[in-house]
Amino acid sequence: MSREKILAAVKFNQPPALPLPDMEVLNTLTDVRTELVSKYKTIATAGGSFVYEVSGFDEIKAIINNEFKPGVKIISALDELSDYIYAETVKHEDGHNFADVELTVLRTNLGVAENGALWLTEKDMGSRVLPFIAQHLAVVISKDDFVPTMAQAYQVIGDAAYGYGAFISGPSKTADIEQSLVIGAHGPRSLSVFIL
């Protein structure tokens, strides 16, 4: 059995136990007084996201209606945006059925100012593939739901149980051809963030 062989070799060869470092210093060092929404906006915009500060869902609807042609397939995971296909009702469908989705709209309650990342779990997504297979992605977040850095983000996540979760920080992109940044690699061609 390779398992036993590997574990025995590792145990035999590993050095004497060393302690884990103190993480508290690092967590408190980060600048918590920074205006988080404006910092988020700057960083996320630089990363290719479109960030909108909105007054309410009517404004979000207006922006979506303006950006997307009527009749395209839009899936929404928000009760407040019920004009579209509701993610909850299609979440057990085969992921391949979402190949023609134009826009997926999701809700998160954790955003990270230092890197523009938004935390979404399988529960927020409906189906895991939805934020990836759609041509465009939009995420709604409240202005009070931002933390300064990843250190605080993992404090918020804590020991939550999820089958799958992802930090998403922008549209799908690549720079593999001569380091030229191209938006829209395999996933969404745009990420719109609505801050309530």
Binding site: S2, I6, L7, A9, V10, N13, Q14, P15, P16, A17, L18, P19, L20, P21, M23, V25, L26, L29, G47, H92, G95, H96, V112, E114, N115, G116, A117, S127, R128, V129, F132, I133, T149, M150, A151, A153, I157, D159, A161, Y162, G163, Y164, A166, F167, S169, P171, S172, K173, T174, A175, D176, I177, E178, Q179, S180, V182, G184, A185, H186, G187
Partner: protein
């Protein structure tokens, strides 16, 4: 897909250096990425503390690796993930093949995994009649070109867009002469979307595996790992035993360091945490040793297992930038690859620790503070002791040691050298002398320092 080669680093680097404008372009591109890394790092006042913390976490991991592995396995199984163990590359490849065979799958999509490059999985599966398509754009490009990646983060950094245009024209039907990165990327998007939608199996690498929770994290900018994994019936994740981290909160340290070090981005577009399989699908993890437990036992080299594969040491390395990734003839090129490879095969990779100026820049940018250049220096000593250094170098070193040990020989040697430079420069300014390649030999002084000093002293005293 590894190019079978018996050439060593100096010869492969010489091949790369034939095209001087390309070398300069390669050099400047990587240095630009290194500069972006600096800007990102300098934005965080706590950067050095982050590096130190990451380094200490990794030391803790290596010193408790066996129990973390068992903890990770137990938690992954609890989450419904199926765990396999592979002692070496062959066993890894066989496990992957048998999983596909059991399901009658003959086509697989794969996202970036340097471990599968190390194991030569693609070649193995091809022999078994399995079609593998790499979905990372850079990896797809080198796969179509029938080459291995030349950089762990930027697989086709050595290729010009015109060459990529030609490859896409031949294989993906893009217009002849098309070299616009936007259009080429769109071509790949359409081609690979079809692949994602039709593959029942997806293989990915693993960036971090969390012992505390049994979850693992994959980082991509393109979203290719997720597109593959979420649409497949079976997701196989291959990981080396050193990918473990103790707790979920430690991701907060490593995800802050990884891309800032790699490309200067604050984080990848996607940092995906896989904990449980989706309804109706399976997740398998293959935990691979392949020489890592041996490296763990080499006290002087075990720190190399702290590596998180950001590629910063390559981008900064003056030798890598000017010799290209393929000159290292191993899956992981550059400074870190040159300390990992001799562990796997000391004879085959005896040249790599010498492919360095020992300037130390690699150690300075390493996000987990691996003493890379010290280890390169230590490998040189081991390789010479074990008798794997090139014969010419051994002879030259012996002659040098003899000369330096004898004042008479040393003075004679110096004098001869100066006379040759003065009266017979053609004897050194020719192609037989490697020092003459790409540079002019210096003018020799008329006298040695010893002679000059003796004369000066004599003049003062009189």
């Amino acid at each position: 897909m590894s190019t079978a080669t018996t050439k060593d680093h100096p010869h492969l680097a010489a091949d790369f250096n034939r095209d001087e404008p390309r070398v300069n372009w390669h050099d400047e591109t990587l240095w630009w990425i290194r500069a972006k890394r600096d800007i990102a790092a300098h934005k965080l006042p706590e950067w050095e503390l982050l590096r130190e913390t990451a380094s200490q976490i990794k030391f803790n991991v290596l010193s408790n690796l066996s129990s973390y592995l068992e903890q990770f396995e137990a938690n992954a199984i609890k989450n419904g993930i199926i765990v396999h163990w592979a002692a070496d590359a062959t066993e890894h490849n066989q496990i992957v093949h048998s999983l596909l065979e059991q399901k009658g799958i003959t086509k697989m999509v794969k996202s970036k995994s340097m471990l599968t490059e190390e194991c030569h999985l693609n070649e193995y599966l091809k022999e078994q009649g399995i079609d593998v398509i790499d979905s990372d754009l850079g990896e797809r490009i080198v796969q179509l070109a029938n080459e291995p990646p030349s950089h762990i983060v930027l697989p086709c950094i050595h290729k010009k867009k015109e060459e990529i245009g030609d490859i896409f024209h031949e294989h993906l039907g893009s217009a002849k002469g098309e070299s616009d990165p936007k259009i080429l990327t769109e071509t790949a998007r359409q081609h690979l979307r079809e692949v994602f939608l039709t593959r029942r199996a997806a293989l990915t690498g693993v960036n971090f595996a969390v012992a505390e929770t049994g979850e693992f994290v994959i980082c991509t900018n393109e979203g290719n790992a997720d597109m593959g994994a979420h649409l497949a019936e079976i997701h196989i994740a291959s990981m080396g035993i050193e990918k473990l981290i103790p707790e979920r909160k430690h991701l907060g340290v490593f995800l802050r360091l990884l891309t800032r070090s790699a490309t200067g981005q604050p984080i990848t577009t996607y940092s995906s945490h896989f904990s449980k399989p989706q309804d109706g699908s399976e997740i398998h993890i293959v935990i691979v040793d392949n020489g890592r437990s041996i490296q763990l036992g080499r006290e002087e080299f075990r720190n190399s297992l702290k590596c998180i594969r950001c590629g910063a040491c390559m981008n900064t390395c003056p030798v890598y930038r000017k010799s290209g990734g393929h000159s290292y003839h191993t899956a992981v090129a550059g400074p870190i690859g040159s300390i990992l490879a001799p562990n796997l095969d000391m004879k085959k990779y005896a040249d790599l620790p010498f492919a360095s100026t020992l300037c130390g820049s690699c150690s300075n940018v390493c996000p987990v503070k691996i003493d890379i250049h010290d280890q390169l220096y230590k490998w040189r000593q081991v390789i010479v002791k074990e008798g794997y250094s090139p014969k010419a170098k051994t002879m030259a070193m012996k002659a040098m040691a003899l000369t330096l040990a004898s004042p008479t020989l040393y003075r004679m040697g110096g004098k001869t050298g100066r006379l040759v430079f003065k009266y017979a420069p053609f004897a050194v300014n020719n192609k037989l002398n490697p020092w003459y390649n790409q540079r002019e030999m210096p003018k020799a002084p008329d006298e040695s320092f010893g002679e000059w000093y003796a004369q000066r002293k004599g003049a003062k005293n009189s």
